[in-house]
């Protein structure tokens, strides 16, 4: 009585793809609930749901653990959503759960943090890794035009997007003339999206490298926390933290002139695009093939690239001039 395939459930419900679906049911699963960033993206998803008549649900655990997200996804499948929009906390560990969902005819779109390529249909990347790296370095240049020593704080050694960002930044500093003014500290520190830890690292990095000019982090928690630590250490205006941050959390720094620039994208629009893409997959408007183009309405038009990646690629650099335009 042993078999290597799971018996599939034949409970009633949606799920059976491609057949004309008029109102799609889409679940959005962030890495974990409780972070402001994902909450903004959720607003975008809800906007898309309103615009396109989608049955939208926001699901997830408040624990930043892979097992918790896997449980969430596993239990999403029997509810027969037409699509899952997922930011993967551990892209490889959640892959089997996502593959299972796909086998059941559920479309899977990742946003923010990708899963294994064969575990999802499409990945809406906020910024291609290289563009993200460039933008962060541009923000660093705005802060410290004369360049100087850069240190990186990453979320965790196991977060692929953070790792890729650091890798590209190092390459750009090594090879791109524009960023030649920078040097970098080779060892990457990890703060696990924890504000306290980020601050401690920022302080220790400043001690370790008296000539440190910039701390760059692609964690929206770490970058503002590090800036705060710099200010409290009395180094505001001499050392800068930059990288990804919600405008709301850095408005104060920029207005007070401690910092010149942080970067991000519009998470709400990212959530919007991801939800619309999922909806169109469900409705059969797109097949998810390379080269296809996607019309996300008021959020613009995009092209599907290699490996099912859609680059949202609208970096924002927040400076004193524009920060008041952003309300998230």
């Amino acid at each position: 009585a042993c078999s290597t395939t799971a018996p599939t459930s034949n409970a009633p419900g949606g799920g059976s793809s491609s057949a004309a679906v008029t109102k799609s049911k889409i679940f959005m699963a962030p890495k974990f609930t409780g972070l402001a960033y994902f909450e903004v993206a959720r607003k975008g998803g809800e906007q898309a749901a309103a615009d396109y008549g989608i049955d939208f649900q926001y699901i997830g655990s408040d624990k930043a653990e892979a097992t918790a997200q896997i449980a969430t996804l596993t239990n999403a499948v029997p509810q027969k959503p037409n699509a899952l929009v997922v930011s993967a906390i551990d892209g490889d560990a959640v892959a089997p759960a996502l593959r299972n969902a796909r086998q059941q005819g559920i479309k899977v779109v990742t946003y923010d943090a990708d899963a294994a390529v064969d575990a999802r249909d499409l990945f809406v990347n906020q910024l291609s890794y290289e563009l993200a790296a460039k933008t962060m370095l541009d923000a660093a240049l705005l802060n410290s035009p004369q360049g100087g020593l850069v240190a990186f704080i990453s979320a965790s050694p196991t977060a692929p997007n953070h790792t890729a960002h650091v890798k590209f930044m190092k390459q750009l500093i090594d090879n791109d003339a524009k960023y030649k003014v920078f040097k970098y500290v080779d060892t990457v520190q990890f703060a696990g999206d924890d504000a306290t830890k980020s601050q401690e690292l920022a302080r220790n990095l400043m001690q370790a490298h008296p000539d440190l000019k910039v701390i760059i982090s692609s964690s929206a928690v770490s970058a503002p926390a590090a800036e705060q630590a710099i200010i409290d250490a009395g180094k505001g205006g001499q050392v800068f933290a930059t990288g990804v941050a919600l405008p709301s959390s850095v408005r104060d720094f920029i207005k007070k002139g401690h910092s010149k620039a942080f970067m991000m994208w519009d998470p709400a629009e990212l959530g919007y695009v991801a939800t619309v893409v999922a909806d169109q997959l469900v409705k059969g408007k797109i097949a998810g093939k390379e080269g296809e183009s996607v019309d996300a309405g008021k959020a613009g038009k995009y092209t599907i690239l290699k490996d099912g990646e859609i680059d949202y690629n609208k970096p924002l650099i927040f400076t004193a001039d524009n920060i008041d335009k952003y309300s998230f």
């Binding site: 409780g34 060892t187 504000a195 220790n204 001690q207 370790a208």
Partner: protein, 346 residues
């Protein structure tokens, strides 16, 4: 057998450490020795380590933890644990600063509010442990989830941003006195005050007595329920102060602030020689434990060592600390019992 005895003054006695008091004091020396070894090692590898700016940075990192560890120490002295420290810190930080952000005129009442919230959370912990007799590790494991759950409920995935914090709290967080951060001074004051209270106030002595032998304490009419609840209220109140300071220091406060602090604080207490079985140890040792942890973290960043190794080294430090501690205690016990033999022989 002679009527009285006066053992020949050994090294310990000549240093003023007599009898059992020596046991406790030697345990301090253990932590201090550990810290010295770390400092020598780091200085020889990275001379900048010993520079004043760096040391002051280490102290600043240790400050909030040193405050939180005081509360944990009081609870551990009673033979219990408080695993909800991190959640209490997070809850107070978020809730209080959220309210303060909406009611600008609160001023220093913010602190009062925080302390009251902390005391109430502590009261709940204490009631679960002392009245409902739930083993403390279980009870506070539960409230760890419950308190954290409450913050994320309350926060609704939004942040209290720097701009919303009362400016004076930020001012305290970044201010300095005699070249040292105010936080370090606050921590120093709190640690000393609590240390003094534990040593000189009847309530403090009662905590030690209860932790040393709960059954005897009860038979001497010490109110066990009151002592345990009191310890938890103290822990909650102190944690809320730490949470308030942490919130002001972090600036942007989300519902996850303070997560995992409980284990850091427990580790610091253990490294600082606070006996996990209750009845012995001191807040000074525990505060030293915080400095040890901060030193390890700082030194490794200075050395440019990868994060992976930090966990490894910190874990090894904890094990080494308890091992040394046990060794010292055994030595002391052996010494004392041998002295009894000498007495019998005298």
């Amino acid at each position: 057998m002679s009527e009285t005895y006066a053992p020949a003054p050994g090294l310990f006695e000549r240093l003023g450490f007599t009898g059992g008091a020596a046991a406790l004091r030697i345990r301090y020396l253990g932590v201090i020795g550990f810290q010295l070894i770390l400092m020598v090692a780091f200085t020889s590898l990275v001379p900048r380590f010993i520079g004043w700016p760096n040391l002051q940075s280490v102290l600043f990192t240790a400050a909030i933890m040193a405050i939180a560890v005081c509360g944990q120490t009081i609870v551990v002295l009673t033979g219990n644990l408080d695993l909800s420290v991190g959640s209490v810190m997070g809850l107070t930080a978020y809730v209080v600063f959220d309210i303060a952000g909406h009611h600008r005129g609160l001023g220093p009442y913010v602190v009062l509010m925080a302390l009251v919230i902390g005391a109430l959370l502590g009261l709940l912990n204490g009631t679960l442990v002392a009245v409902l007799e739930i083993p403390s590790i279980v009870a506070t494991l539960g409230t760890l989830s419950i308190y954290r759950g409450f913050v994320s409920f309350y926060a609704h995935a939004t942040e209290v941003t720097v701009g919303q914090l009362p400016p004076w709290t930020r001012a305290v967080a970044s201010s300095r006195l005699l070249g040292v951060s105010s936080y370090v001074w606050i921590a120093l004051v709190v640690v000393i005050l609590i240390g003094l209270a534990l040593r000189w106030l009847p309530g403090g002595r009662t905590v030690y007595a209860y932790g040393s032998n709960p059954k005897a304490a009860r038979s001497y009419g010490l109110r066990s329920t009151r002592i345990v609840i009191g310890a938890y209220i103290a822990s909650g109140t102190i944690a809320s102060l730490a949470g308030l300071m942490l919130g002001a220091q972090v600036g942007n406060i989300n519902s996850l602030v303070g997560d995992g602090f409980e284990l850091q604080v427990l580790a610091a207490a253990v490294i600082g020689g606070v006996s996990i079985w209750g009845g012995s140890g001191s807040v000074y040792g525990a505060a030293m434990g915080c400095i040890v942890l901060a030193t390890i973290n700082n030194g490794l960043v200075l050395l440019g060592v990868q994060e992976f190794y930090r966990q490894l080294i910190q874990g090894a430090a904890i094990v080494t600390a308890v091992a040394i501690d046990a060794l010292v205690q055994q030595q002391v016990a052996a010494r004392l019992s041998r002295r009894s033999v000498e007495r019998a022989a005298a």
